[in-house]
């Protein structure tokens, strides 16, 4: 066995090479996700009674005509990559001032907070991914838990005992994490390109949104007690986000590539007729009473009655809307438009848009405090978080955070 014959043997091992999957295209997608996280720097969280956490993730969208960004995806043309670690910055709701920043692992992704509001879990990293627990009261960062590559969806179960992290770009995994011990359990193989996880209110089932390799999406139910995935439910193209009714009976999936919203009955795990909402939708929100779903499309927001699953007339909002949040009393939906930098309140009683509120440049994401008095808007271009006071709907002075905040989460 000389060098030539070894070379020949190695070539022989390559026989029967299967046709190539579109690696080049998918690596661009994965690369965008990686870059999005690499550009992401900091975040914000308050240590006071009503706390919030924001993580900077300036997302990209629309390259190759493919919506690549997650639910928090402004088009961002920044080219400077800062190679330092990511930061989580607390903001106190009472003073609207940033607190001492917390350093976490690189490339922050989604955040999930336990129902008791004590711990925030931050997904970050690329290959591999990590989940980092942060004690909100003290800002103490726990030991990171290793999870699969490209973490992209994180949710804590209603009992607060388990966090589910979805990861992967060609093979999907869901890693259950015990919040008591901060350890990862046996990963569950789910789909190929999972993007989001949501638990039913009773905590028996978790639904994982999978974008698939081709972009044709599906939703896979997981039995939380046994950790076994059920039969996949087909949805539309490039699904981005999900919203569940408070009674846990229906799950709505926004298919950004199909311009539809697919209702799924959790009783039968069957998809209903897709609801046409025009272009988009890239974000979705449900009223607290579960009667209406608002789907954010391109330039419009479509209200959907959950009783009949029929869309109402689209509500025009400015520019490129991309995030939405609804007040705890359900009276107002706030829609964030990246370009121009505005937030448009929509009265849910009449489904009419009110006068847009100017915020700092490059708004990306929005979260509303549990008391419904303040909405916080991360403004990535301005490196700031703009508070909006409710019900006056006036914007406060931007709260400066270190760099490009995007994702924001509020701890009760």
């Amino acid at each position: 066995m000389d060098e030539t014959s070894l070379r020949r043997l190695l070539d022989a091992a390559l026989a029967h090479e299967p046709p190539m999957e579109p690696i080049a295209h998918r690596s661009l997608q994965a690369g965008f996700r990686l870059r999005r996280r690499r550009r992401a720097r900091n975040a914000t969280a308050s240590i006071a009674a009503a706390a919030l956490i924001a993580v900077a993730v300036p997302a990209l969208s629309g390259a190759l005509g493919h919506p690549l960004a997650g639910p928090h995806g402004p088009t961002d043309a920044a080219t400077a990559y800062v190679e330092n670690g990511s930061i989580v910055t607390p903001i106190s709701e009472t003073t609207n001032q940033p607190g001492t920043s917390i350093r976490t692992s690189r490339y922050p992704g989604p955040i999930a907070i336990t129902p008791d509001g004590k711990t925030a879990y931050l997904a970050s990293g690329t290959t591999p991914g990590w989940v980092t627990p942060i004690t909100i009261a003290t800002g103490a960062v726990g030991r990171s838990i290793r999870v699969g590559d490209f973490p992209d969806g994180l949710a804590v179960s209603p009992d607060g005992k388990t966090a589910y992290l979805a990861s992967g770009t060609t093979r999907g995994w869901v890693t259950p994490i015990s919040t008591a011990t901060s350890t990862a359990g046996q990963p569950i193989k789910v789909g190929s390109n999972p993007r989001a996880v949501v638990f039913t209110p009773d905590g028996t089932t978790a639904y994982v949104l999978d974008q698939g390799n081709s972009g044709w999406g599906s939703v896979i139910p997981i039995n939380v007690a046994t950790g076994t995935p059920g039969k996949l439910i087909k949805v539309g193209h490039t699904p981005m986000v999900m919203a569940m009714t408070p009674n846990g009976q229906t799950l709505y999936v926004a298919n950004s590539g199909s311009g539809t919203v697919t209702p799924i009955s959790t009783g039968t795990n069957r998809a209903g007729q897709p609801i046409n909402v025009g272009t988009g939708p890239v974000a979705i929100a449900m009223t607290p009473d579960g009667k209406m779903v608002y789907a954010v499309g391109t330039g419009t927001v479509t209200p959907i009655s959950t009783a009949t699953n029929t869309p109402g007339p689209p509500i025009r909002v400015g520019g490129e809307p991309q995030a939405i949040a609804i007040t705890p009393d359900g009276k107002t939906a706030y829609v964030v438009s990246y370009q121009p930098s505005t937030v448009t309140p929509i009265s849910t009683a009449t489904n009419t848009a009110q006068r847009p509120i100017k915020v700092a440049a490059g708004p990306a994401s929005i979260a509303i405090t549990p008391d419904g008095k303040t909405a916080y808007v991360t403004c990535s271009t301005a490196h700031a978080v703009t508070p909006i006071f409710i019900p006056a709907n006036t914007a406060g002075p931007p709260i400066k955070v270190a760099h490009r905040p995007n994702i924001i989460a509020i701890a009760p």
Binding site: M1, H16, E17, H25, T127
Partner: protein, 181 residues
């Protein structure tokens, strides 16, 4: 041409070879696709820097091998994935050769396997491999000697198992001819 288009062109050109190298490292075409894709995604992030250095292909191979090794370090206990063999009739080497070689490669530790693939398939020199893996040339030599010994033990009687004329004659020349240097 935009930076993204440039990258897309590079990725299209580089991916077949990267994928094959990945397959020799991990022995599974699906895992190879994953590995090649992860590698390209990593390259994309630093693309501006890499393309200036005019060594994108070398950098890609380095990233691939190190991604593979990092993965092995972290997932040491994980089973190696095996997929069903695709049904496609090509007249080239007898299927037995392929299976025997893959089986032999699977007996190697990750680093030894990487050394074999880089040196004898990618035709890199000891110094290049050492540079790529971040270890000394001496370490590369000892790794390849050990890995070759192991391969020889498994592949020594490959000619009796496969009737492939491609490998038959060479095999009979015996095991002692590989240069370890």
């Amino acid at each position: 041409m935009s930076s993204e288009e440039e990258f897309a062109n590079f990725a299209a050109a580089a991916s077949p070879r990267l994928r094959r190298m990945a397959f020799l490292l991990c022995g599974d075409w699906h895992a190879a696709d994953d590995l090649a894709q992860t590698t390209l995604a990593k390259l994309f992030v630093s693309w501006r820097k890499i393309k200036r250095q005019d060594a994108a292909h070398a950098y890609a191979a380095r990233t691939l091998v190190n991604t593979y090794l990092a993965d092995k370090r972290l997932k040491r206990n994980e089973e190696i994935l095996t997929s069903k063999l695709p049904e496609r009739s090509i007249q080239l080497p007898a299927p037995e050769t392929r299976i025997v070689v893959l089986g032999a490669l699977a007996t190697l530790p990750p680093k030894g396997r990487a050394v074999i693939v880089l040196r004898y398939w990618a035709d890199l020199s000891v110094d290049q491999v050492a540079d790529m893996l971040g270890c000394s040339p001496g370490n590369v030599k000892s790794q390849s000697a050990r890995a070759l010994g192991k391969l020889r033990a498994v592949l020594g009687d490959i000619r009796t198992e496969s009737g492939s004329p491609e490998t038959h004659g060479k095999e009979q020349r015996g095991a002692g001819e590989i240069r370890h240097g």
